[in-house]
């Protein structure tokens, strides 16, 4: 470990402590030692004056895809971890649908080790729920957890078989981990490449209706209620699924849910012109769906924001719409989009957005991060909530560029990210003009 | 087509009519067997001229002469360079032209390219015994070795001017004027 770090002169924003005010943070030996006003660091501390910017617990994304092993040309664990840090994320959960999939302890261990070496956000593997992601036989869940898996999922594929889902929701309780379900009834989605509706009809593209998601979410919620297990609904996209989650929570089922920034910001109209940057699964839906997702995130029916970061090489996206792969990257635009759609529209306060990105994921998954309480890990993000910036995908740390927000102006920019007290990301100075006054990053000496 | 007031009238209706009568006389003089004649007017104004000529030939020679119309738009040699595509008119040849004496009738002979296009088009319909050219006005400025066989009159034109022939069915009157060149879009 290196010297203690004193991050000072900022606005401390930590919803987990209901903290929002000027202050500083002292990190020693990878953990937060003190947090509040009038903190004084030891003489040998590295002092970082952030000149009024927000200091918050590092963001947590429970749903990303790093393409290692198998498709390293799109993203490696290292490039993904760095991309996450550039987006202000200090913890990410990676999905197991790599090639080969993460369905045995060795694979889990591989991802853990690579994540530790990567020098970006913390990378925790989600293990496969079924062997080979085939949806038939349960993986050795306990072994996967022992090797370092934090959850199980077949994401990319739904856990189609209700009986298997029941057993998973029962069995995972022994290890206190959630089942992350990609709810899609492929009998209804039927090869659909976008939302089924008038845009798909005009474009002549096959569509997947809302019912392909909501029907399965309803079923999954009843199974969660039956078993008492923790069901986490991935990437909710429809108003009907929101209703199902709401009902399940009201009945006391242990159900949590996530929504992506792109589903909060975009609708099926983004597909016009056959733009493959708007092709993902589940697809972008109607404005009515989008509004209900925003409302659900505000009232807590949807607990967290998760990006479903899905990198693809430009050659694969530069194809006829039918043939292009599903997915968009999201780690480096998440804060900007979330702030634009939620704070910009007045739906949520800045603190509440930080909650959905950091405290809430930690809370629902039982992680000891997502807070600035003394004793917690030194996972910190410093960001400028007012900075307007235009998305230029060529500056991404990610190995891929497939974002629907190219050229869009977003609000809110990450300036630096620390993991375990170590600075893992810093926005290059030339990229954004600092405020007048003292340069934000100062070297030695006490305040 | 509205004619500018600064246009100079070269032939009024009476004079134009007299010229057409004279052309009819020339035709009858040189063609011993008018039954073999076919007058083909080039769209647009050549068509009415051909019809008037045919009427005159019939009045003077006592034989009814068939007339046809030819639209040369698809045979132009400058297709790759012109701007907005011209509207294509119809081509109607009432009889089989092989073996006939075809006289192409046009209002103004200038570069000769229209006549060349008409020759190309006619050859796609058959093989006339003889093809001749009859034009009301020759304004000079040839770009191809083409000369009229029957000529109404010759007029010189300065740069920035052109000859405009008017016919009743399109312009409401029969005349020949010298007019400034219209500004093209």
């Amino acid at each position: 470990m290196s010297r203690p770090v004193l991050i000072t002169g900022g606005r401390l924003l930590d919803p987990s402590q209901e903290l929002d005010g000027p202050g500083a943070l002292l990190i020693r030996d990878g953990r937060i030692e003190a947090c509040g006003r009038d903190i004084v660091g030891p003489d040998d501390a590295e002092v970082v004056d952030v000149d009024g910017l927000v200091i918050a617990p590092g963001f947590i994304d429970v749903h990303v895809h790093f393409r290692e092993p198998g498709d390293e040309h799109k993203e490696t664990i290292e490039s993904g971890a760095r991309s996450a840090a550039a987006g202000g994320f200090t913890t990410v959960w990676t999905m197991p649908n790599t090639d080969p999939p993460i369905d045995d302890p060795a694979a889990v261990g591989f991802v853990r080790a690579a994540g530790e070496r990567a020098g970006g956000a913390r990378v925790y593997p989600v293990g496969a729920a079924s062997r080979g992601l085939q949806g038939e036989k349960m993986t050795e869940v306990g072994e996967l957890v022992a090797a370092g898996a934090v959850a199980v999922s077949d994401d990319g594929n739904p856990i189609w078989n209700a009986g298997l889902l029941r057993r998973l929701l029962e069995y995972t309780q022994t290890f206190d981990i959630p089942v992350l379900q990609h709810a899609e009834d492929t009998g209804l989605s039927c090869g659909g490449v976008m939302n089924e509706g008038k845009v798909a009809t005009a474009l002549g593209l096959r569509g997947a209706p809302n019912a392909a998601e909501s029907g399965m979410v309803a079923r999954d919620c009843y199974i969660a209620e039956l078993t008492g297990g923790h069901l986490h609904v991935c990437h909710v996209s429809t108003r009907e699924a929101v209703e199902q989650v709401r009902r399940a929570k009201e009945c006391g089922a242990h159900v949590t849910a996530e929504v992506t920034p792109h589903h909060l910001a975009l609708t099926e109209d983004a597909v016009h012109g056959y733009r493959t940057e708007a092709k993902m699964n589940p697809p972008l839906r109607t404005e009515e769906d989008r509004q209900s997702l925003l409302d659900a995130l505000v009232d807590g029916t949807i607990d967290v924001i998760a990006t479903d970061h899905a990198p693809h090489h430009y050659e694969e996206k530069e194809r006829e719409f039918d043939d292009a792969p599903f997915g968009v990257v999201g780690l480096e635009t998440a804060l900007g989009v979330a702030m634009l759609e939620l704070v910009g529209s007045g739906r949520l306060s800045l603190g509440a957005v930080v909650d959905r990105l950091s405290c809430a994921p930690a809370r629902i998954m039982g992680l000891d991060v997502g807070t600035l309480r003394p004793g917690a890990r030194g996972d910190i993000v410093v960001f400028d909530p007012a900075e307007r910036w235009t998305v230029d995908a060529s500056t991404f740390m990610s190995g891929s560029r497939n974002t629907p927000f190219v050229g869009k102006e977003l609000v809110g920019r990450v300036r630096a990210t620390w993991v375990a007290g170590e600075r893992r990301y810093e926005l290059p100075r030339e990229a954004s003009p600092f405020r007048e006054g003292a340069p934000p990053y100062v070297g030695q000496g006490s305040v | 087509m509205p004619v500018a007031s600064e246009a100079e009238v070269l032939l009024d209706e009476e004079q134009t009519d007299a010229t057409l009568k004279d052309l009819a006389r020339q035709l009858l003089e040189r063609e011993p067997d008018p039954a073999e004649l076919l007058l083909v007017g080039i769209r647009r104004r050549g068509v009415e001229l051909a019809e008037r000529l045919a009427t005159e030939v019939e009045a003077q020679g006592g034989v009814a002469i068939p007339t046809g119309s030819l639209d040369i738009t698809l045979y132009r040699d400058d297709f790759g360079q012109i701007g907005p595509k011209p509207v294509i008119g119809s081509t109607e040849l009432p009889v089989e032209i092989t073996g006939l004496h075809v006289v192409i009738v046009d209002d103004v002979l200038h570069t000769g390219r229209t006549t060349r296009a008409a020759l190309n088009e006619l050859s796609d319909f058959g093989r006339p015994r003889k093809i001749e050219l009859c034009t009301l006005v020759d304004r000079g400025g040839r770009e191809l070795p083409i000369q009229p066989d029957y000529l109404g009159c010759r007029f010189e034109v300065a740069p920035g001017e052109e000859i405009a022939v008017s016919v009743p069915s399109i312009d409401g009157e029969l005349s020949v004027r010298r007019v400034p060149v219209e500004r093209k879009k």
Binding site: A200, G204 | L74, Y75, G80
Partner: protein, 329 residues
């Protein structure tokens, strides 16, 4: 989706470089194309069915989905305009060996092709190509999206028979869900002021079609009572295999256009079909060959319409005229 004017775009109708669909055209543009097709009908009656207007132009027929009738129709149109044509069909072309559409586009550009007529199995493929090459691109059918020249010849046929398109009642019967022809016809008819309805089993009517301005009729008897023109779509065997209809026999019984049904039409009714027909499925033989049918005029009009489209998109730009003039001086 807007008109691209990098090459050509000099036609008086403002069609731009490509024809990828009818959705973005105006009524004036559509009627203008139909008007231009008229003189081309006459050329097909001549002994020498050829005019030199596209002489020296190279046109590639890129048919990456099987088709005989459309390709032949385009080939006749191209040859009658004196263009040089090359056919690339899906079997044996580099695309089958795995060359992407992007690479195909680059190769075409490198060979300095003047015009490409493309048929492809993916919606959006025509626009995809048009965005990437300077040649004129004509959509001969992309996935389930549009087939503009088919709709144009349908509109011409309707106009010839009924005298106008505005205010006419046209019902499209059959597998609208999977039909690019239906979509193009809907756009074309609506732009020109016709009243449009669709009719077929609900499994074959796509979601949101009413929002485009189209009425949905549930029974073919209703359609026949209402419409002045019945546009019958082909029902493919694959639809039965995929479970959209239980059997072709059942489809014919409940949705087939038969003599008995047509004889109950309150007034005159004309029947069109894009071909090829499944006789005895969507349309009975005595209808296809009978007095209501305009199917053969459709085919004749097809060549003329395609000649008109090629003529309007090809060659000619004011800038080129200027520079050609300068070169001469």
């Amino acid at each position: 989706m807007t008109a691209n004017t990098t090459n050509g775009g000099a036609d008086g109708l403002g069609l731009g470089k490509d024809l990828t669909g009818l959705q973005q055209l105006t009524c004036e543009q559509i009627e203008g194309i139909l008007d231009t097709a008229e003189p081309f009908k006459e050329i097909s009656e001549r002994r020498i069915k050829k005019v030199p207007v596209l002489r020296g132009k190279t046109i590639v027929n890129l048919f990456l989905e099987p088709s005989t009738r459309t390709r032949i129709s385009f080939e006749f149109a191209e040859k009658r305009l004196s263009a040089d044509t090359v056919n690339i069909a899906s079997s044996g072309s580099s695309v089958e060996k795995g060359e992407s559409l992007v690479d195909t586009a680059r190769n075409l550009e490198a060979m300095r092709i003047d015009m490409v007529v493309i048929r492809h199995g993916s919606s959006g493929a025509a626009q995809f190509l048009a965005d990437r090459i300077p040649s004129n691109v004509i959509n001969a059918g992309d996935g389930q999206h549009e087939h503009p020249t088919q709709a144009l010849l349908d509109l011409l046929t309707i106009r010839d028979r009924l005298g106008s398109i505005a205010g006419r009642r046209v019902c499209i019967v059959g597998d609208v869900r999977h039909s690019r022809v239906a979509r193009s016809d809907i756009w074309g008819l609506m732009r020109c002021g016709a009243e449009v309805a669709v009719c077929g089993p609900k499994t074959l009517i796509p979601m949101g079609i009413e929002e485009l301005g189209v009425t949905v009729l549930s029974r073919v008897e209703e359609a026949i009572e209402w419409a002045e023109v019945l546009y019958v779509l082909r029902l493919q065997l694959e639809r039965m295999d995929a479970g959209f209809v239980p059997s072709l026999r059942e489809y014919n019984r409940f949705f087939g256009v038969s003599r008995e049904r047509l004889e109950r039409a309150p007034g005159d009714i004309a029947v069109l079909h894009p071909g090829p027909m499944n006789r005895g499925v969507e349309i009975d033989s005595d209808v296809a060959d009978g007095p209501w049918s305009l199917i053969l005029p459709q085919v004749t009009n097809g060549v003329a319409v395609r000649m008109a489209v090629l003529y309007l998109l090809a060659g000619g730009s004011p800038e080129r005229a200027e520079s050609a003039k300068e070169a001469r001086e």
